[in-house]
Symmetry: C2
Subunit: 274 residues, 2 copies
C-alpha cells in the first residue's frame, strides 16, 4: 500500500478526503489482521536496527507525528509502536515549551530529544509546532516563523546526512469526526484528562491551521524527509498506513544481522568448559 506522499505544491488539504483509505483495498478486519502480521515484521526490523547499533553501525529512525487534535497520534503510538520492543522506542512528546525552552532557539529542545542510535524515535508533535501554533497564535513575528521552514529543512538534511531515516506523518480528520472524538473525552470520566479547552480554541481557528499545514507540506516535504498525509477518520487505516511507512523506511536501510565481533568457535569452547 502507499499512503499519500506530499508533493510540494501538488497536495491540497482542502480537497483531502479524510475518510479515504488510499492504497488499501480491504475491510477493517482485514486491516487489523494485517497489522498484527506486519507488527511482527516491524519488531524484527527494529531489533536489527538495534543489533547494528550495538555492533558499531549506529543509525536510527525518526517518526514525526503531527496532526489535528484527536486525529489519533496516541493510538498510533499505542497500537503501532506498541508492537515494537519498548527497549527500542524513544518517545518524545512536545508540549507547550517551558520558560527555559522559549528562551532558546526553537530547535534546542528538539536536538535534545533525538533518538538514540538503534532506536525508533517518536515525536508526538514536534518542531513543526513552531510553524503551526506559533504562526496561527502569532507567538513570534512573521519574519521569524517564515525563516523556520528553511531552518527545519536544513536541520533535517543534517540528520539524514548522519544516517537518520526520517518519516513525517501529517494526520487529518474531518471537523465532524473531531467533534465526536472530543465529545467522547468530555463524556467519559476516564478520558476527561485528555481534553483541554485549548482543543476548542484551536478548532475555531481551523481555517488558519489548515493554511499553516498547507504551507508546511508545500515547503518542508523534501527528498530526504518527505511528508505523508494520512486520512484518519478510520483509525484502523491510519494505523496500518503508519506501520507500512515505518516498515518501508526500515527496509531502505538494508539491515542485516551483524556478524559476531568475537571469535565464535573460541567462545563456544570457553563457554562449554565454564
Amino acid at each position: 500500500m502507499h499512503a499519500l506522499r506530499a508533493i510540494p505544491g501538488a497536495c491540497s488539504l482542502a480537497d483531502l478526503d479524510t475518510a479515504g483509505t488510499p492504497g488499501f483495498v480491504g475491510s477493517k478486519s482485514d486491516a487489523l489482521r494485517l497489522l498484527q502480521a506486519r507488527g511482527k515484521h516491524l519488531h524484527t526490523l527494529q531489533e536489527k536496527l538495534y543489533a547494528n547499533a550495538v555492533s558499531g553501525n549506529g543509525r536510527s529512525v525518526l517518526l514525526v507525528l503531527q496532526g489535528m487534535d484527536a486525529a489519533g497520534k496516541g493510538g498510533i503510538i499505542r497500537h503501532v509502536l506498541g508492537m515494537v520492543n519498548p527497549e527500542g522506542i524513544d518517545h518524545a512528546p512536545f508540549g507547550v515549551p517551558s520558560s527555559e525552552e522559549r528562551l532558546h532557539h526553537f530547535l534546542w529542545r528538539v536536538h535534545k530529544a533525538l533518538p538514540r542510535l538503534g532506536h525508533i524515535g517518536v515525536f508526538d508533535r514536534s518542531h513543526y509546532e513552531d510553524v503551526l501554533v506559533a504562526r496561527v497564535r502569532k507567538l513570534v513575528p512573521e519574519a521569524v516563523w517564515q525563516g523556520r521552514y528553511h531552518e527545519i529543512n536544513e536541520f533535517e538534511r543534517q540528520l539524514a546526512g548522519q544516517g537518520m531515516v526520517i518519516v513525517k506523518v501529517a494526520m487529518f480528520i474531518s471537523l465532524q469526526e473531531q467533534k465526536q472524538r472530543l465529545l467522547q473525552r468530555l463524556r467519559d470520566p476516564h478520558k476527561n484528562w485528555k481534553y483541554s479547552p485549548r482543543d476548542v480554541d484551536d478548532r475555531l481557528q481551523w481555517p488558519h491551521y489548515r493554511d499553516a499545514y498547507q504551507a508546511l507540506l508545500d515547503r518542508t516535504s523534501t527528498e530526504v524527509a518527505p511528508w505523508y498525509v494520512i486520512p484518519c477518520d478510520h483509525k484502523w487505516y491510519s494505523r496500518i498506513a503508519v506501520a507500512e511507512l515505518l516498515i518501508a523506511a526500515l527496509e531502505t536501510m538494508d539491515l542485516t544481522w551483524p556478524p559476531a565481533q568475537y571469535d565464535l568457535q573460541k567462545e563456544i569452547t570457553r563457554l562449554q568448559r565454564s
Copy 2:
C-alpha cells in the same frame, strides 16, 4: 501470588531453587493466559498514573532489573512492559560507564535516568552494578564500594519520599540454564550480537558475584525499596511474577481517574457550537 521478598539476613541465594515458581500454582499455559489478562490491568494502571501526572499529581514507578546474564531482563521488558503503552515507559539501560560517567559520583548517571512523572521507569541493570561488578572486578577500593550500600539506601529513601514507588527485582538462573541460553546466542546468527566474551568471564566469577548479590540483598532491601528474588529458569514464571509486582506497586498508589480541570458543562456547550 507472592514472589520472594528478600528479608535482610534471611534470604540465602545458596539455597535458592532457580527452577521454583513460588506463589504460583498452575501450568505454563495458565501463566501465559494470566499474563495477557493482567497486562490489560497493568496498562490501565499506568494510564491512570499518567493521567494523574498530567493533572498535577505527578508520581512515578521505578522498576529495577538486576540479575545474571541471560536471566531474562530483555524478555521482561519485551513481554511485560511491552503490554503497557510505550508513551508511559522510560527505559534506561546501564552499560559500562563512559569515561565521563566514571569521573562522576556513581549516582550521577542514575539521577539523569530517573523516570519522568507519570511513567514507569525501567532500569535495565542499574546503580547496583556499582556494588556488583565494581566489587567483583575491584574497579574501586573496598572502602568505596562498602560505602555505597548506605549511599544507595539514602538515595532510594529520598526518591520514595518524593512519591516514587520502587520495585527491585533480582533475577537468577542456574549455571546450567545460563550455559544453554548463552550457547543459543552463539549458535543462532540472529543472536550473536547479544553475546559478549565478558559473559563467560563473569560466569567464571560466579561465586564472587553470588557473594556480592547476597550482600546486596542483605544490605539494601529496605522498607521503602525492598528486593524481590525471582527464580528465572522458567521464563513464563518470571514474567508473571514481575507483572504482579508492578501491579501490586501501582495498586498501593490508590490511583483514581483525575476529575476535569475545567468546567465540563461549559466545554461541552462550546464544543457543540464549534
